[in-house]
Subunit: 207 residues, 2 copies
Amino acid sequence: MSPRQVAAEPGAQLDSPAPLSRDAITHAAIEFIEHRGLERLTMRALAQQLGCGTMSLYRYVANRDDLVGAIIEELVDRSDLPELARRRFKNWQEMSVAAILAYKDLAVAYPGSFELLALAPYDAEPVSSHIERMATALQGTGLTERQAYEVLGGLDAYATGYLLVWARARGASGDASGPAALRKIRDIDEFERGLRVFVAGYEATLR
Amino acid sequence: MSPRQVAAEPGAQLDSPAPLSRDAITHAAIEFIEHRGLERLTMRALAQQLGCGTMSLYRYVANRDDLVGAIIEELVDRSDLPELARRRFKNWQEMSVAAILAYKDLAVAYPGSFELLALAPYDAEPVSSHIERMATALQGTGLTERQAYEVLGGLDAYATGYLLVWARARGASGDASGPAALRKIRDIDEFERGLRVFVAGYEATLR
DNA sequence: ACCTGAACACCGTTCAAGT
DNA sequence: ACCTGAACACCGTTCAAGT
């Protein structure tokens, strides 16, 4: 009989007699990060949470980086971003605002995990193809390729910088408000205002 | 005779018979990061570079976080940022562009170490007082306190997001150009263009 | 096929001791 | 005063083995 089948004392770990799988591991990892913080996510701690041996994880995940990649993919899947690339917008302004706000919603829903996505290499999956899909969609609303990448790059930089620092500060102190000094420049409600200012700037610049 | 005074074989480590000090450690750490990467900076490796025992570092540095704090302070000192806060500008546009460009110059000069600064907590020194000095200076050029923090927060978010991803990509691949996919949205020469677009947006918004 | 403990090569840091 | 090695409590991951 495998140790995993033995009844686990309740409360100590997740009530998961569910079989181990790449998805189960990924889901548990996200939950772990949101409850206990990214810096506490270790292969050993995650295994304990799942009630299995540390090495069992390596059946479904090549290594820690592979796990992080799976988390990123899962987060993008849970967001509105994939659906956005398929929708039709009447101009680039509406489309880019919608895309960046979906990005913000992801940060608000998963503040602990967000930095994995924000700091993920842009030249690897799934970020690279997401950027390309967005750029292509933007070109469908009248921008040239160069303009599409310019707007996308600029707005993405703003959103990444804003949300990354906001999410980190939020996680550092336990409460939801964050330190007072930071609130002055990183209130999440002010995010959209800055976004629209930036879009207005591009509007003026692109004629 | 202390082991540190023994002649070190040249090339193997820094030619530093210089006495150990907090500054010497900080300087060596920055050089280490820029040459070998942040992920390779460990207390053990840094001590070896300095030709001393690992524990000798702890005479001058409380722990790794304290060392990182010292690095951040040193980087800010080496930049144009402190001088900027003392200079006079005729309007907030010129001042904020100058400040953000000084921030960019720092990222270009120290791409390996930049993320320590970019990800440093905004509510701790020396970042917090720098932000306050900048906000005060901006109010001297006609902005209200609220407007000063709004512009500062927005432009800082853009710069942080842009430069952080650029610096990471630059360090990841060995060469100076970075992966082709990223160059499309993160050419360092395009940084200033986006900055001016954002400033133009605030110009229009603040009337 | 699925799971696992022991072991290895690392970390940061404490402690007790050297000169 | 300044420096240090041994040791501790961790990491991620390899390997050889269990069912």
